[in-house]
């Protein structure tokens, strides 16, 4: 059966042996005190050596992971003296930076608010739709059932974020949620429904009501591709393979456009805009503290770098979301997301001995900390009960066969088809064998400070989606990221359109970059440190060591 090595097989036998007794049991949830103790002891965020305080910029003194600090405290890729920004190649009303979910929603709503399609531009680093949005599996929250309400949703979000969220943003999130779902229905998103149209909803980690709406386990893909198609129907122009490498500001400090860089021809392009929506997504590809990530190739925190140089404030970036269930075996899948929906459908996490050690649906940070404690060696205060793979990865079991045993044969393949497909490719049948998981870097909880209209406080600059912070505080719940980008993408798109209608932008310059460079110099930042990162470095060491630039 399967391709698990022999030493792991023995642990699977233990899992099978404890399964009958586990079928009907639900482990107790932790108290808030127990959660806190677990987080302090084992969550990577609580390791002080992982962070440092920023020494430049609007959020001076705030602690952030070293990997991000190295990008914020870094010199521009473009030398402002070598780029002529006075002659724009594109002149638009609204420039949207980022072609994932938030950017696409913002562009659609800017158009809906009266900005002609030709006066909008989406610029994106990879292809339109390449984003974390497209990878989301489990679902989207909205309090639209009779036993639920936006107020209950509000409490869940705040508790999940350990009461560190911006209450105004959370209110916007939960109040807009039902209308987002309705809008998606209008656009033709195929949500999972009962025959009469009632949404099939389940729990996510930290929810008190079953309000997770899904489209099989391709929820993110289904929503993103419908939004992209709608943007295409509206004729909104998109520049692909054109990441923004710097914002442009005028004499009054307003953001008035951006400099893009053609990833394929290495040309720069100047876009002048009356309003800019930053929708560049998150930071998973920084591999904070060496963790693998679920994120897409372009998730390199570029937007944080650009906005920070333009004077935007950042928040909650000391909190990193590790998704409890990243794949830990086989090697080819390490780090990839195993949706929380698997636990929502009653698969239990187990240690090497087949024992339950935590409730399956604690908030993500707590669940992750519990997995790390189970795997950590006793010398480090852990329990040493993880399963070690041939490549030295460690993980805990997720008892996936329980899904079909509880919900009926065929459920797993139907409701979790992407996960099923992913494992079957490697000869592991998750309906018969458990799978190995370990926390993986998943989400940027914090980000650029915004108000409830997506405004960053910097004139002309709006932000939506994973790049902004405050909505989730220091820990996001499952199903609130798809919701976040729809709610704040819409709000930012509408606000940007409103701003563009009355804005009087001055001549575009890179003056703010020059000022930032002065700060960097006085802070003694090493001169070879450059940002934004644009793409992570995965080339082989042998190839890199012999690489010379001759052409």
């Amino acid at each position: 059966m399967g391709t698990y090595p022999k030493e792991i097989q023995e642990s699977i036998e233990r899992v099978e042996a404890t399964r009958p007794a586990r079928m009907a049991m639900k482990p107790p949830r932790l108290t808030l005190q127990e959660q806190e103790a677990l987080l302090k002891g084992f969550h990577p965020d609580y390791r002080p050596e992982g962070k440092r305080k920023l020494t430049v910029g609007a959020s001076w003194g705030e602690p952030v992971p070293h990997e991000l600090a190295d990008l914020l405290e870094a010199y521009p890729l473009l030398d402002p003296r070598e780029v002529d920004v006075s002659q724009p190649d594109h002149d638009v009303d609204v420039l949207v930076i980022g072609g994932g979910g938030a950017g696409t929603v913002a562009a659609i709503w800017a158009h809906q608010s009266g900005i002609p399609a030709a006066r909008i531009l989406i610029a994106t680093k990879l292809r339109h739709g390449d984003s974390n949005s497209i990878m989301a599996q489990g679902g989207i929250q909205a309090a639209d059932k009779a036993n639920d309400s936006p107020a209950i949703h509000y409490l869940d979000v705040l508790g999940g974020g350990h009461f560190t969220n911006d209450p105004k943003l959370v209110r916007a999130l939960v109040e807009d949620a039902p209308s987002v779902i309705r809008w998606h229905e209008d656009l033709g998103v195929m949500y999972d429904k009962e025959p009469d149209g009632t949404m099939i909803t389940i729990h996510g980690g930290g929810t008190s009501r079953k309000r997770m709406h899904s489209a099989k386990d391709y929820t993110g893909l289904e929503i993103m591709r419908v939004l992209r198609d709608e943007a295409r129907s509206r004729g909104i122009p998109v520049l692909e393979f054109s990441p923004a490498v710097e914002l442009l500001t005028d004499g009054q400090g307003q953001v008035v456009g951006a400099v893009l860089w053609n990833l394929e021809t290495s040309e720069y392009t100047v876009v002048r805009a009356k309003a800019v929506v930053l929708a560049t997504g998150g930071w998973g590809r920084l591999h904070i503290q060496g963790f693998p990530t679920t994120n897409h190739y372009g998730a390199t925190a570029d937007g944080l770098v650009l906005a920070y140089r333009a004077g935007a404030k950042l928040r909650d970036l000391d909190a990193v979301q590790y998704h409890p269930t990243g794949a830990a075996y086989p090697e080819q899948l390490v780090g990839l997301l195993i949706t929380e929906k698997v636990r929502g459908m009653d698969a239990l996490p187990l240690n090497r001995l087949g024992e339950v050690f935590v409730h399956p649906l604690e908030p993500r940070d707590v669940e992750s900390a519990a997995f790390i404690r189970e795997c950590a060696s006793p010398e480090k205060g852990g329990r040493g009960l993880g399963v070690t793979t041939p490549t030295g990865m460690v993980g805990v079991w997720l008892d996936t066969p329980m899904v079909d045993m509880i919900h009926g044969k065929g459920t797993f393949q139907r409701a979790l088809s992407s996960i099923h497909r992913m494992y079957v490719r490697f000869d592991i049948d998750p309906t018969r064998e458990p799978i190995l998981v370990y926390p993986t870097l998943h989400y940027q909880n914090g980000g650029v400070v915004i108000d409830e209209h997506g405004w960053t406080g910097v004139p002309g600059l709006f932000a939506a989606g994973e790049v902004e912070g405050g909505v989730h505080g220091k820990n996001r719940l499952m199903g609130n990221s798809l919701l976040d980008y729809n709610v704040f993408g819409r709000r930012a798109g509408i606000a940007a359109a409103g701003h563009a209608k009355k804005a009087t932008p001055g001549a575009p310059t890179l003056a703010h970059v020059g000022r930032y460079v002065e700060q960097l110099k006085s802070a003694g930042v090493p001169a070879d440190r450059k940002a934004p990162l644009l793409l992570p470095e995965y080339r082989g060491e042998r190839a890199l060591s012999r690489m010379v630039d001759l052409l």
């Binding site: 639209d144 309400s149 509000y154 409490l155 209308s179 779902i181 229905e185 009632t198 198609d229 992407s418």
Partner: protein
């Protein structure tokens, strides 16, 4: 570490066994821009075709999900030109002939099944073309739900169909018109607009942290 030899666009490289095609290309020194997206099998950016020595078949798969094999000849297909006719969903009827009138090339299908063989998601692509041909929109939507728009079927199709655009339209028609609306969602949208929850939220927003924590702890959890 065992090595295998792969031929990236015909040129041989030694790479460690067990890498995916994507990681093998990076190991060999390629910095991917095109041909790399989510790295998790969802976005369809890394469409790749390959042949194995001594095998006539032309295989098609996603570079991020496929381990290398010794003697593999690899070419990425990072972009698929495909025709998407202009349309507004609101102007369309959810009828069978809608698909055929916007994508008349569907009628050129000779049922060769090459599309199905090219699909990295193992979808029954030809069955979906046939369902589209006879106007069965829900069937098309169901069969193509897991499509990642990688374009491999489109590149292999002798009838020159732009599959993923047909699928996208069929799914939107199905979702918007052929599936009953969720009445509880409409009701809740109206309630929010009417301010039904305003007082509750105002009250929560005015609470101090201790009171909030107490309210959070006191939540009833739906079983």
């Amino acid at each position: 570490m065992n090595e295998v030899t792969v031929f990236i666009m015909g040129k041989g490289y030694h790479v460690p066994e067990g890498l995916t095609i994507m990681k093998a290309m990076e190991y060999a020194g390629y910095r991917l821009g095109r041909g790399c997206g989510c790295r998790g099998g969802y976005c369809g950016a890394c469409a790749t075709v390959y042949r194995l020595r001594g095998d006539y078949r032309l295989y098609a798969d996603l570079a991020c999900q496929t381990p290398v094999q010794d003697g593999m000849y690899i070419a990425q297909i990072p972009f698929t030109p495909a025709e998407r006719p202009p349309y507004q969903l609101a102007d369309l009827q959810p009828r069978g002939e809608t698909l055929l009138s916007l994508f008349p090339e569907l009628a050129r299908c000779v049922a060769c099944n090459t599309c199905t063989k090219a699909c990295p998601q193992k979808l029954e692509v030809m069955d979906a073309v046939q369902a589209a041909l006879r106007g069965d929109i829900p069937q098309v939507a169901e069969l193509t739900f897991d499509c990642v728009s990688c374009g491999l079927c489109t590149m292999r199709c002798p009838a020159e169909i732009s599959h993923h655009h047909v699928w996208q339209l069929a799914r939107r028609l199905n979702g918007a018109y052929l599936t009953p609306r969720a009445l509880h969602v409409q009701k809740r949208v109206q309630e929010v607009a009417a301010g039904v929850f305003k007082a509750d939220l105002d009250a929560l927003l005015s609470l101090g942290k201790d009171a909030l924590v107490a309210a959070y702890k006191a939540r009833e959890i739906e079983s």
